[in-house]
Amino acid sequence: MPVEQTRGDPFEALGDPTRREILRLLSTGEKPVHEIAVALPVSRPAVSRHLRLLKDAGLVSERSEGTRRIYHLQAGGVRAVQDYLEGIWGDAAARFRMLAENTGRDEDEATVR
């Protein structure tokens, strides 16, 4: 399998509970792959696959220490997370705007509830 891939989608990467669990584990500090694997109820190859996806999405980085690979959170990933939250608020804002612009302006008190 190729190690390097085109940049992945951070939202897709965050959309999986195992990957979020990995990010949570790494939030306390960098960890080698085996430490991540023992903390999760999935196979080692699955962990590697998740890590690769997280790396492609720019959420984690790795470094080598001898034969071990140590993973850590990538600081720049926060931007992707904020973008995502912005998307949710953007969705809410669009719906709010449509409702506000298409409901009575002077009978607010009468239309409550």
């Binding site: 990010l23 939030s27 600081a75 949710i88 809410a92 719906r95 709010f96 409901t103």
Partner: protein, 158 residues
């Protein structure tokens, strides 16, 4: 510190109508797939006034607290704590300002901040609440925790 999230947009109605729509019709405009239960039949309730609760109620009457109103200044300003079914100590803050513009229009300014408060739990093992929540909400809650985690990391490495 994770920077506050700021969003603003203009709306073709008065600030007063925007405030009223925001507060009294949240059930109609909040995206129905961004709830704690994920139940499309769930009703979102915002109790007007300082200290008012914002919560979601399922058809069976099960309630999930979303937050509490901390500032109620119609029609210009509204603020509430926002924890979406999580521990109140981990609430973030949402503030909305409604600014009057010319020609009967208004600007809505949303600021979502206080991400650092999630730190109370980010490094403590817990049963992630999103295990029981639908996908979208899990992402939101998970993302907020991650935003904090990155913030912590940045502080350590700067």
């Amino acid at each position: 510190m994770t920077a506050p999230l700021r969003i603003q947009f203009d709306v073709d109605c008065s600030a007063a109508h925007a405030f009223t729509t925001w507060t009294s019709r949240i059930a109609a405009w909040w995206p129905p797939d961004h709830t704690v239960s994920g139940d499309p039949e769930a009703v979102i309730v915002l109790e007007p006034g300082p200290g008012g609760r914002i919560y979601e109620r399922s058809p069976l009457g099960l309630e999930h607290d979303w937050g509490t109103i901390t500032a109620w200044e119609p029609p210009w300003r509204l603020a509430y704590s926002w924890h979406l079914g999580r521990d109140r100590r981990e609430a973030t803050d949402v503030e909305i300002r409604f600014v009057s513009l010319e020609h009967g229009r208004a600007r809505v300014e949303i600021e979502h901040r206080g991400w650092e408060r999630l730190g109370e739990s980010a490094n403590r093992p817990l049963i992630p609440p999103w295990r029981a929540a639908p996908r979208t909400m899990r992402i939101v809650v998970g993302s907020a925790e991650l935003a904090l985690a990155w913030c912590e990391r940045a502080r350590l490495t700067d």
